[in-house]
Subunit: 72 residues, 2 copies
DNA sequence: TCACATTATACCTTTTAGGGTATATAAAGA
DNA sequence: TCTTTATATACCCTAAAAGGTATAATGTGA
C-alpha cells in the first residue's frame, strides 16, 4: 500500500506503456522506473515528478490517514 | 507557489519551531530544511517525508490543477 | 515446446544530495 | 547602538542515487 507505487503501476498499465516507454517519455532511466515501482524510498523528488507529469500529477503533501486501529 | 515549501514554512511557524529544531526533531540536517524551504527540486523523497511526518503528512501524487489560462 | 517481449537483478561509473562546519546576513530585543 | 537568535551562503567530504549495460527471470503467444 504505497500510493506512489500503485499510482504509477496502474496509470502506466492503463495508458498501455512498458516501463521502458514510460522511462523514455518521462526522461528518466529505465532503472529509475523499476526502483520507483518497487517502492524505493530514496528517490529524487524531481525525477518522481518527471514521471508523474506524464499522468498530469505531481507530488504534494497529503494528510496521513489512520488505517489500522491498534488491536494486535 | 510551491506547495511543499509553503506547507513546511507555514506549519513550522505555527508550531513555533526554528529550522534547527525542525531539523533535529525530524532527523534531517539543518541544511536540508533550508534547501527544502528554498524550493530545491532535487530533494530525496524519504527525507522530505521525514519532515512532513512531523506534521502528520506525507508526499503523495496529486492532480495538477490548471492555474493560468493561456493569455500572455 | 520455442520465440519474443517485458520485467527483474547485478555490476560499474559518474554525479550529486546531504551533512557538517564556518561565515555572513537579517531580524528582534535590550 | 550592541547582543542574541534565526536564517542564508559557501566550502569540503562521504554516501548513494541514477544511468548504462549485461544477464536472468518471468511472462505471453505461436
Amino acid at each position: 500500500m504505497n500510493k506512489l507505487v500503485d499510482f504509477v503501476k496502474n496509470r502506466r498499465k492503463i495508458i498501455g506503456l512498458t516501463q521502458k516507454e514510460l522511462a523514455e517519455k518521462s526522461g528518466v532511466g529505465l532503472r529509475f522506473i523499476r526502483e520507483l515501482e518497487h517502492g524505493k524510498q530514496t528517490l529524487r523528488l524531481d525525477k518522481v515528478n518527471d514521471v508523474l507529469r506524464m499522468f498530469g500529477h505531481m507530488m504534494a503533501p497529503e494528510k496521513i490517514e489512520i488505517l489500522e486501529t491498534g488491536e494486535k
